[in-house]
Symmetry: C2
Subunit: 607 residues, 2 copies
């Protein structure tokens, strides 16, 4: 039943050879890999204005130069990542690039912060989208957490079905959002050009503003840069592209950069020209749409697609997290299970872990994850900086043909990313300090896990020339609880393997011991019986002591000890709750604590 539910939700299993069909073309890839970056247009411009308003509305014109700064940063990042795509065609991303060029620890810093970051992406974007929806239907507001969790479960299920299927479903909302904003920007500019908007609404560029500090401008710039989170996703996900993967990925990246640049500058410009003041109740995009269209169909179309894309931004995390986890797991920094492909050829363990972790975050923060945004932004800019720096080192070391322009591009990217990172720490320390605690812990765990795998590998390896001494014989111990068919079945099996069979009976009362011995000797005179008395009504303690004695003697003679546990299996599995589960306990205890083989002889009931 459970397995047919699984089939229904995620579909039939796919053969390994069907992997190629699960790859993405450019249109779909753009939709699922850029939803995070594009969605940030919905809140990035607002972040800039929210900082500037702390001085005065006259300072709003500074949003234009700040936006230009963000665009320069965007260009540098896009060009840098384009170079990374071609340099690391098997899916680079910050982890691989930093590790290869800067060393293990910088790689782990990049990988660790991205890993945490994708969880934050999912939690933050789903919470934001849920907020947008429940703002429209206030009666649902009290169920925010539940609704957010349902969205996470939905997106997780989609991703477990496989990348192409989720891409097919998610492509529409992303393109609708882009279309909606294009119409908004187009109509807005048309209105301005045709003189329908009063130029009085905004202060001209260059108006002097009292009390504006460089610190504040930097802070506004850092806030605006949070709109660039998500641009690294494509470089992580190259293996998901159709061949030729690097070319397709690079074109998709350029397209995303162009879209992001247009939408971002359009919104910033309209906000400036309309003189929009950000407020807690209404988003900047909503105000612009209201000014442009009034509350008609187009307004609701823009609001609806914005809410949707905020939720779908989570999907970028689902594309990038499992692939990053595979890279870390291949290098043995996280458990190997992340490298296993599931029924639908997705890395299902990564997808599931991401879903669970983000649900936990949503529950802990009761769906109010907005305060995590700066943390999430700084968690992106650290790996940005590291990967660009890695590329600088690569160019300087390898000096391939035409390396100088490449070096310049990556150096610009690295410098700006570094400055933005610094600014986050300088201007928003109280919101981002926790990353300085978490990152070292995560990196220590990474190293511990790697060390463990190395130890295991070493202990598993067969040294050349090493030979194992054949076993000379076997002793089989059969704990028996009575004279039954189940015991008979086990004794029959044991005697077919060796002559050294010992049945062990544990008596709680002295009386019992004698009676059982008599019965046994009549029934199985050829099998040796040992009875043990348990004053404390425990089975494991006297049994273990006895096994230890036998084991000691056996190892002296190069014999091995097997404990054979008779077990009946009831016809319906829930019937097992009516029976003592001591055999399970005994088995687990012996396996972990003693060096004996434990075998279970099942006796299946027919009724």
């Amino acid at each position: 039943m459970l397995s047919s539910l699984k089939r229904f939700l995620i579909g039939r299993p796919l053969k390994s050879t069907e992997l190629g069909e699960q790859k993405l073309n450019k249109t779909k890839a753009l939709a699922i890999l850029s939803s995070d970056a594009l969605s940030s247009v919905a809140y990035g411009p607002e972040q800039i204005l929210l900082v500037l308003i702390t001085v005065s509305t006259a300072a709003f014109w500074y949003s234009i130069p700040i936006a230009l700064g963000v665009l320069i940063l965007l260009t540098a990042l896009i060009l840098s990542y384009r170079q990374i795509i071609f340099a690391y065609p098997h899916g680079g991303g910050a982890y691989v690039v930093s590790r290869e060029n800067l060393g293990i620890n910088p790689g782990l810093i990049a990988g660790g912060s991205l890993l945490v970051d994708y969880i934050l992406t999912v939690a933050v974007s789903v919470s934001a989208g849920t907020d947008a929806i429940t703002s429209a239907f206030p009666s649902l507001h009290q169920h925010n957490v539940l609704i957010a969790i349902i969205f996470v479960l939905f997106i997780t299920t989609l991703n477990l079905r496989g990348v192409t299927e989720s891409a097919s479903i998610l492509a529409y909302p992303v393109y609708l959002f882009v279309l909606a904003l294009f119409i908004l920007i187009g109509v807005g500019i048309y209105n301005i050009v045709t003189g329908h908007v009063s130029p009085e609404l905004h202060t001209p560029i260059g108006t002097p503003v009292a009390g504006l500090s460089l610190f504040l401008l930097l802070r506004a710039f850092a806030s605006g840069s949070s709109a660039l989170t998500g641009v690294e996703a494509i470089s992580n996900a190259i293996p998901n592209f159709k061949d030729p993967a690097p070319n397709n990925a690079s074109r998709t990246l350029m397209a995303m950069g162009a879209l992001l640049a247009i939408l971002f500058s359009g919104i910033v410009f309209l906000a400036y020209y309309y003189g929009i003041t950000p407020s807690g109740e209404e988003t900047v995009v909503s105000k612009i749409a209201d000014e442009t269209f009034g509350r008609n169909f187009m307004y609701y179309f823009i609001q609806g697609t914005t809410a949707l894309i905020l939720i779908l931004a989570a999907n970028t995390g689902y594309s990038a997290f499992p692939l990053l986890a595979v890279n870390l797991a291949k290098d043995k920094f996280i458990p190997r299970m992340f490298t296993v492909r599931g029924d639908r050829l997705g890395y299902s363990n990564g997808i599931t872990v991401l879903g669970i972790a983000s649900i936990i975050l949503i529950i802990i923060f009761k769906g109010e994850t907005e305060s995590l945004i700066p943390l999430y932004a700084v968690g992106v800019f650290i790996p940005f900086t590291l990967s660009q720096t890695g590329m600088i080192v690569k160019w300087v070391k390898e000096k391939p043909k035409g390396w100088v322009p490449k070096l310049i591009i990556n150096s610009t990217g690295a410098l700006i990313s570094f400055i933005v990172t610094l600014m986050f720490f300088l201007t928003k320390f109280e919101q981002v300090w926790s990353i300085l605690v978490f990152l070292p812990i995560i990196i220590i765990i990474f190293h511990r896990i790697k060390k463990h795998y190395e130890l295991v590998g070493e202990q598993l390896r067969i040294k050349p020339g090493q030979t194992i001494k054949p076993i000379d014989g076997n002793v089989i111990i059969v704990p028996v609880a009575g004279i039954t068919q189940v015991v008979e079945n086990s004794i029959n099996y044991a005697t077919s393997l060796t002559d050294q069979v010992i049945a062990v009976y544990i008596a709680f009362e002295r009386e019992d011991e004698r009676i059982f011995e008599e019965k046994w000797n009549k029934w199985q005179p050829n099998v040796r019986l040992v009875t043990l008395q348990s004053q404390y009504r425990s089975i494991i303690t006297p049994l273990t002591k006895f096994i230890d004695t036998v084991e000691k003697k056996a190892s002296e003679n190069n014999y091995r000890v097997t404990v054979l546990i008779p077990q009946f299996i009831t016809k319906k599995s829930w019937h097992n709750i009516l029976h003592n589960q001591s055999s399970l306990l005994i088995r687990a205890y012996l396996l972990f604590k003693r060096d004996v083989i434990v075998a279970t002889v099942p006796y299946h009931f027919k009724k």
Copy 2:
């Protein structure tokens, strides 16, 4: 660590021979077995007045004849149960008496309703006691459920420590409560006799009251009878008494009856003489204490001990439930685990199940379990009626010396109990109907469980003259995932048992298959290797198919198939999460679904 926490909470394990030391003397037995009955004095009289006030305060004098009725019922019950104690010295109680004399189903009705009833006792009395405490400290009121749960956990732990220990701790509050009420009643009567209380406060006995129906009087009587819940506890718990158990139990029962009669009539009389009107805010006992002492130390002493005894009333459930469960389990109507004595010689499974079930009830009803009181009372009077009826049948059938007076006593008891039961159904049907749904369901489950155990017993039994055919040989299948020390260890073991060893390798890629075969043939040329390809990356499916094929062939030759699973055991148990747990899955699947022996060969890492 878990085990030392257990030691700290419940103490060192006791030997079976120490059982005698865990038995109760009369003083302690009275304390722990009568707390339920005695505590009902705190609410029984109030229940009568609450019914009478629906007519007028003039009707309050009827509380005196009603109380006389309750006292007659009490006397009949005490004398009847005294007879049961001697007739069933191994612990009778309603279940055993009804089953032996009236048949299985009446016995199960009595047993089933008592089983549920003890759970209700714990939930209701702990909730009531918690309410009494949080009424004194209103700031705690919002934590009612949590506090009640903590009390349940505390009482559960005490009982897991063993009966004498819990008796030692619980005896003080019970006797303090009795002392407090004795002082209250004594001082109250002294005040009345010395003329300090105005006789104007109450209407004289015999005053005609308009609008008083027989139905109402019966309802008041039924409500007052709820003060008698708990008197059956001693007859259930005879095995807990020191020898001679029946004599000690009988004396304890008489003492409890006398105390209950004195306290009950004293409170009813004072309430009548003082003209106390029950109200939602303050209990009748509190009002009497206030009238008698004012709000001085004695008042708070009475209130405090009352709250305590309400909570401790739960303990009666803990004494009676496990013993009833043992009786039902011995007759195979409930799982056998209830017959096992724990470390401290108490029936720990019964104690634990009772604790968990009552916590669940408290959580479901959010600590407001007052509405369950009638249900709980009717759940007591059904077994009362059945056990007295059973005794009637016994006397009539066996006709021992002097049986006529015994018959009369039990007949009176049976008749009155039956009338009270009927009255509950007639006057409070909306609160007790659910027992008519639950009881049949519980009885059906009892029969299903018994049937299952009988089927199992029959299948386990070795038929005389039946012989089992010795096995002719063994095939051992070893699933291998690589060429490692762990595999070498398992192969070494397998070849020591039989020549028929087959290693199975499951390849996810066709390439893999060939490479592995080559390596294997170089490494273990004498062990046959079978490689299987798994297109869907599942291990269990191809492995099971292969095992089925081998199994079919083997059973034709009277061979048995063993699947030997190589498993490494990491040094620290939490390290296991870093490794695939597929061996556990394979083992469980094969044991339940296939008729093969499953053995695990552990390889313990040293680092």
